[in-house]
Subunit: 131 residues, 4 copies
């Protein structure tokens, strides 16, 4: 099941043929990143080590990714300024979370860091198509 295909089937997107593939990919990865960061915060909470800062950044990143993918999904009406602004803040959230997770050697932090890096990259590419 693909959120990208779903977006491509939106009446206005289908009618105009203006499907933004880079933006749809950013939506998909921000959706995944919201879930991965929520899970990493939970996994960090179970670690023996002091992981407060990592939990904080994961929770923040999950919240921002959730808002970003929901806003960037919508194609009815028009809100380009806010789509750009949320993508930009999502890049920040992901880069900050990636930098923190990259300090830790457990599998969930490594996976989360990779997800954040990919999500930041996709949001950056999507942002370039919108300027």
């Amino acid at each position: 099941m693909s959120i990208e295909k779903m977006i491509s089937e939106h009446p206005d997107v289908a009618a105009t043929g203006q499907y933004n593939e880079a933006l749809a990919l950013a939506v998909r990865h921000a959706m995944h990143c919201a879930a991965i960061c929520n899970s990493c915060a939970d996994a960090c909470l179970a670690e023996e080590m002091e992981m407060r800062q990592c939990i904080r950044l994961c929770l923040d990143c999950s919240d921002v990714c959730t808002a970003t993918y929901r806003v960037a999904t919508r194609r009815t009406g028009s809100n380009p300024e806010l789509v750009r602004a949320t993508l930009a803040v999502c890049i920040q959230a992901c880069e900050l979370c990636e930098a923190e997770c990259a300090k830790h050697d457990d599998p969930h932090c490594r996976r989360c860091a990779q997800m954040c890096r990919e999500c930041a990259g996709d949001c950056r590419r999507a942002l370039e198509t919108l300027n």
Copy 2:
């Protein structure tokens, strides 16, 4: 990038080997269903037809799926009663949304109905492993 692998790497899951695959699949599909329903509500809003009831059920289903996948992801500590209760309400939300989307012949409603059916089925199978 897989939310299931992420959950399997949780310290307590990895230590005990008690990875619930059915529950992890329900998490993944509830995450997707939250995004698909959010997108379907937006696509329905662009249709010429009267789609109010469908938009309402899609928005409600998206909210419930979001809560469900986040709660069902967590493995630190223990909250089995609430995991079961959220899975049960997610099944209801998905069945109600599926029944409404199945009335409409546009591609996004067909896709959303299929997603809701799959998510309800996965939540039901996950629920069976938790009783």
Copy 3:
């Protein structure tokens, strides 16, 4: 600024005069409880004591309260079965979180326990009006 007044101004509510005050109060308190539980999880994370179970229940309760207040707010179309089901799961989430927070003597847990108790009570009264 009042979410209850907002709901009472919904076109269908204003037209029919069918404003459910108990349900609107449950919406307001579930909104507050979502925020209070999010804050309590964060405050528990800063404590010296082992607070994992409390953080887990607060995060879960915050997610369920968020879904509940959003679903229970909507008056366009009709989804009574799901409104009842989300109120019921919100009562469970709040009671579980209250019981855990009540074990701790710090001010944020005491406040969170009180909020959860009030929210559960309001959801129960709202549920009675819907049967």
Copy 4:
């Protein structure tokens, strides 16, 4: 029940006496604005008029306000760059939503426009304290 008091009782805030009242007020109003915008989108959907653009902006604003209040609530660890960035995007979301709602004469849009204006003002004042 007050989210501001809750934040003031966070162990690190209570220990240092560094309670940022402007930021706590922004949290409270972003929480309310998330709920009011969710309700306004639902009320607009019931209107006879074409309200698609208003629904879009209300849904987007609700999502951004939710992320903002959750991120800006947290006091464990430190993420000042992201708190500032989310407050800034919240100001944008609120101003865009306010401008659209102000075009409509129904009570729910008037109330939503006022809420968005207040929230944008509070986020701006909070942002000033963080630079």
